[in-house]
Amino acid sequence: MEGTPAHRLYDAIKRVVGSYAFRVVVQGILTLWAVTTFTFVLIRQMPGNPIQIKIDQLMDQRQLSYDDALKSAAGLYDFDPDEPLIQQYVKYIGKLARGDLGKSILSAGTPVADQIRRYLPWTLFSVGSGLLISFTLGVLLGMSMAYWRGGLLDNTMTVVASIMYGVPDFVIALLLLLVAGVQLELFKVGDVLGGISQDVEAGFNVPYITSLVQHAGLPVLTYVWTTVGGWILTMKSSTISTLGEDYITVAKARGLPERRIVLAYVGRNAMLPLITRLAISIGFVVGGSVIIEFIFQYPGLGRLLYTAINGRDYTTMQGVFLVISAAVVVSNILADLVFGLLDPRVRVGGQK
């Protein structure tokens, strides 16, 4: 009985369907679909119609008659906003399934995918390095503070970290711009604002890196500044609770060298709760920070989104939102995987 092909097929299907990977992928796709649908509907509820805006623009700029402008505008878009919502939706999903994000409305004719490809690396670079610096700094400081609890470092940093954690990012961004840019002239404000220096060649060379620091420096600093407090405080409390664990006392009783205890016994266990947070933050990295990129005129996804919203650029908005949610979904899966690797108690798919 058990050997029949039908039976084996059934077993195989059951295994696949029951497997952790299958569940995760299905869950991810469902999430993405839900987010896509939701944003699709939501965006269309915003006041203002993109074609109307374009027509007005064309009438203003090129002094066209309404009819001509309408014709010209309609030609620019590959969708008709007057179509019933459901038809637009079906078309959109159909295209999406083929990997086509559509064409931008604002910069007429450019595929959204191209735009995202152009802006995404900048955001990944700035927020990503900000996150990396902030996480490393936070973990090191937080752990040291827990170790020398009640010491000078702990007392000052706890206050500083709480303040850093509490001040909104745009305030920090403006302050940095004012202090580092205008007052101290560490950064040339004119250069910072406005994006990429056109004349330098991309690659691993001094002018490029200088230009990179010049442009990305302040945004990165802002990210570090606003997030490091959170990491410090979390790592501190996590380390303190780990230090109270019995296995730390036992490790000391076993005569283990302090370095080994700090790394494999305290550090590894104290980091566990931060890993999930880190992975989730990685998800949000992609979205960037709309406000910060806007303040620094940094050419990232956040600014792209800002302009798209202002111009009612439906397709671009949809594209950016899709990328952001995909990143969050993927990083959550990543978090599960990494957590499973670091903590044997949480085996991925381990139902015991």
Binding site: D246, Y247, T249, K252, A253, R254, G255, A264, N269, L342
Partner: protein, 341 residues
């Protein structure tokens, strides 16, 4: 046992915790000797200071603890002696586990959850200069067999894959890895089931026979002490109030608190029995009562008990008690236990 050489001699040891209300006197003037191959059980209830005393022996006390007085003299295998309290950090690190190991209770989370059992064995060996994994592995597997564990499976397991009883035996094996002279057992059979407790007791008794180390055993469970100990000490409010050979302590106690404990525990084999509880609850150790700290709860107490601290006096061979009314206690104990003087 008394002929045997002393491996650990604790004299006048006190441990205070600094609290906001003042010094909490967790251990006061504790003195005892531990002989080669002896099992010393310290029994007492929660907060009596038995765990603090044990942590102090390995200098594992938390940061707010102070040791105002006392000495912990350890005798090495070559006969030389050293005060644990005066060791420098590096010496202390080497003393820990290779001379004196400690097995905490299974319910506690004594094994690092993210490391495999084998890594904890390798870690321990490496910290004491043994880097040959083969040798460590061979020794570990041998010990696992002795504590009745499936050697290969356990060696490669993560702690969470083992039951409480198995973890406890892993800890015992880990404690014996470096062949220490002293093993401190902190409630080794608490929070395990009856049959698991039996396995652990049997394992401890057989392995101790074989390897001949000394045990300091702390427990609130008098019956486990009755079975395992050669010598028993009763602790109350941070003091060792009575210390003696196990039979003397159980059949001929001289301290009112020891007797109180004995009268309060039910015995399975005793049929219908009349038990008496000790009234009141343990005293505040920041402001302990004057005189004998037990006098508030003691049925034998008289005026002197409240005024003067009773000295520890020898009442028999290797048996001493700190009680103003040791004789009355003794008389009542004989009635209770039916033992002969």
């Amino acid at each position: 046992m008394s002929e045997n050489k002393v491996v650990l001699s604790v004299r006048d040891l006190s441990v205070h915790y600094l609290t906001q209300r003042g010094a909490l006197k967790a251990v006061s003037h504790a003195s005892f000797d531990l002989h080669k191959g002896e099992t010393l059980a310290l029994m007492g209830e929660s907060g009596c200071g038995k765990s603090t005393l044990n942590l102090a022996l390995m200098r594992l006390l938390p940061g707010n603890a102070r040791v105002p007085n006392g000495a912990i003299v350890y005798t090495r295998r070559d006969g030389s002696t050293i005060d644990v309290l005066k060791m420098n950090q590096d010496r202390l690190r080497r003393f820990r586990w290779s001379e004196c190991a400690m097995v905490f209770q299974a319910a506690l989370n004594s094994l690092n959850p993210v490391l495999r059992v084998r890594d904890m064995f390798y870690d321990t060996a490496r910290a004491h200069g043994e880097t040959n994994h083969h040798k460590v592995r061979r020794r570990a597997l041998e010990l696992f067999r002795k504590v009745r564990l499936d050697p290969e499976r356990v060696f490669n397991a993560y702690p969470h894959e083992l039951s409480g009883g198995m973890r406890q035996r892993v800890l015992i094996a880990l404690g014996l890895l470096l062949d220490p002279q002293i093993v401190i057992l902190d409630e080794p059979t608490t929070a395990v089931d009856i049959l698991t407790q039996r396995t652990i007791i049997d394992v401890l008794l057989s392995i101790k026979d074989e390897l001949n180390f000394s045990i300091i055993f702390i427990s609130h469970d008098l019956s486990v002490a009755a079975e395992m100990a050669d010598t028993v000490g009763t602790m109350y409010a941070g003091e060792i109030v009575e210390l003696g050979p196990v039979n003397d302590m159980f059949y001929r106690p001289r301290h009112a608190y020891t007797l109180g404990l004995l009268e309060a525990i039910p015995r399975l084999s005793a049929g219908a029995e009349e038990l008496t509880s000790i009234p009141g609850s343990p005293p505040d150790l920041v402001e302990p009562p004057s005189g004998c700290k037990f006098h508030i709860r003691c049925p034998f107490a008289t005026d002197i008990c409240a005024k003067e601290t009773p000295p520890m006096e020898v009442v028999g061979d290797g048996h001493s008690a700190a009680c103003w009314h040791a004789d009355q206690v003794y008389a009542r104990a004989l009635q209770f236990t039916g033992a002969e003087s």
